[in-house]
Amino acid sequence: VATLVPGTLLSVAWSLAGGAFRDGDAVLRASLLSVVQLLFLGICAAGAVAVSSRHRTSRSALVTLVGAWVLLWVVAPRILPWIATSRHPLPARAAFDADVERRVRELGDSHDPNDPRFAAFQSATLARYGVSRVEDLSVNYNGLVTAEGERLTTQAWREHLNRLLTIYGRQARLVEWAALADPYVAMRTVSMALAGVDVAHAVDFERQAEDYRFRLVQELNALHTHSVAHARDRYDGGSEGGAPSRQRIDRSHFAGVSRFEYRRSSTAWAVSRQPSGLAALALWLVGSAICLRQLGRRPFVV
């Protein structure tokens, strides 16, 4: 009660001040978070009772409990990253970037008219439109090339990023397994998911931002392809201060360009991302319940 009353008062006051009660999903998340915290405190209390009942003096019980706290709350969470990174090492940033660059180079240089891959793209495009020169296309070929280049480099980046995220995922699995041995890690995993501050939420936002970037660039490339004539696409080689001879398009064209809107993930999604954390918490709960039940059956040692 001593822990619960100030904590509850604080969080309710905070939510009222921030107007958090107007948001249904946030209320659901906060309620579940409170339940998880309550269960966690219950597990702690049950553990303390179980340990104390096996000691003759209160001082030795306290020593055991503080020892367990240091081990599970302080030391183990710091040992975990070590185990996780040595079992599933991440590539060095420089090596990763070099790999991506090599892949992009393999895909061809869209700026180079003699690049064999983009020469193949050009002949395929010409064949599709049934013409023999890019100047005869009904659309602007430069826009098509940029869009294709963007598609390929994005694909290369995403492939490599997914590889990296797979390693993050493996490391996270290891932490989730550790939650079976450490209630603090279990509570932390589930709480972070419910609060929307875990890696799954961060990656979800990054994906949305990257999808938006790709969509935006391709929309601009489509504008380039359909609204800018190929003949008027380049400067006339005049001096830099000269008036641009390349075509400008009306601002109304940009009205249709999409805006970024963050899709907030639902509570159900957040929970579904952390099944093992939840399972660990449930196991700890069942374990404490069994422990307390057995304690109730036998008389105290003291």
Binding site: V70, A84, A92, A98, D109, Y168, A202
Partner: protein
């Protein structure tokens, strides 16, 4: 006074749990140093490879361009590695070395964004913190000190020795 310190030390060392605690702390310190070393060694390896990485990247870019390409066009694609070498004390306290950049690759383009190109680290693991020697000294050490100091006082109180002890002039102890 010196006698008093000697006496207290002997008393402490007689307590098996204190000796055990000191040994544990020592082991934790060694583990911490070792862990710090693995992190810093990895960074050293990455930094050691930077010369070769830079040469490979430069060659790959320049090979695609004819020799007559303007310098600006060449520089546009070239990355230059920078290095923040760890000091000899870095394994002792990793601090934020694992989340902040130590091997920035800079180029002529998009200058400001490059400053934040830190090395990869899983945010989930970074949030837990490192088990380095600094953690043992700053966290576990004081905890242990509090525990044995509290234990000594409690011991005296339990045996009702506290009043006798504190009431005795210093000369008698020494």
């Amino acid at each position: 006074m010196r006698h008093a310190i000697w006496f207290e030390t002997r008393q402490l060392l007689r307590d098996r749990s204190v000796v055990g605690g000191v040994l544990l702390l020592l082991v934790a310190g060694i583990i911490g140093l070792w862990h710090g070393r693995t992190i810093v060694e990895r960074q050293r390896e990455t930094l050691a490879a930077r010369g070769e990485r830079q040469t490979t990247q430069h060659r790959a870019v320049l090979d695609l361009q004819p020799g007559t390409t303007p310098a600006g066009d060449q520089l546009y694609y070239l990355f230059f590695h920078t290095a923040h070498e760890p000091t000899a004390w870095a394994p002792f306290a990793v601090g934020q070395r694992d989340v902040h950049p130590y091997n920035l690759r800079v180029r002529m383009l998009a200058l400001h964004g490059q400053l934040y190109d830190a090395d990869f680290s899983n945010p989930l693991l970074a949030a837990f913190g490192n088990f380095d020697a600094a953690f043992v000294l700053g966290w576990l050490g004081p905890l242990f000190l509090i525990a044995i100091a509290g234990r000594r006082i409690a011991h005296l109180v339990d045996r009702r020795l506290c009043r006798a002890c504190c009431g005795t002039p210093q000369a008698t102890i020494g």
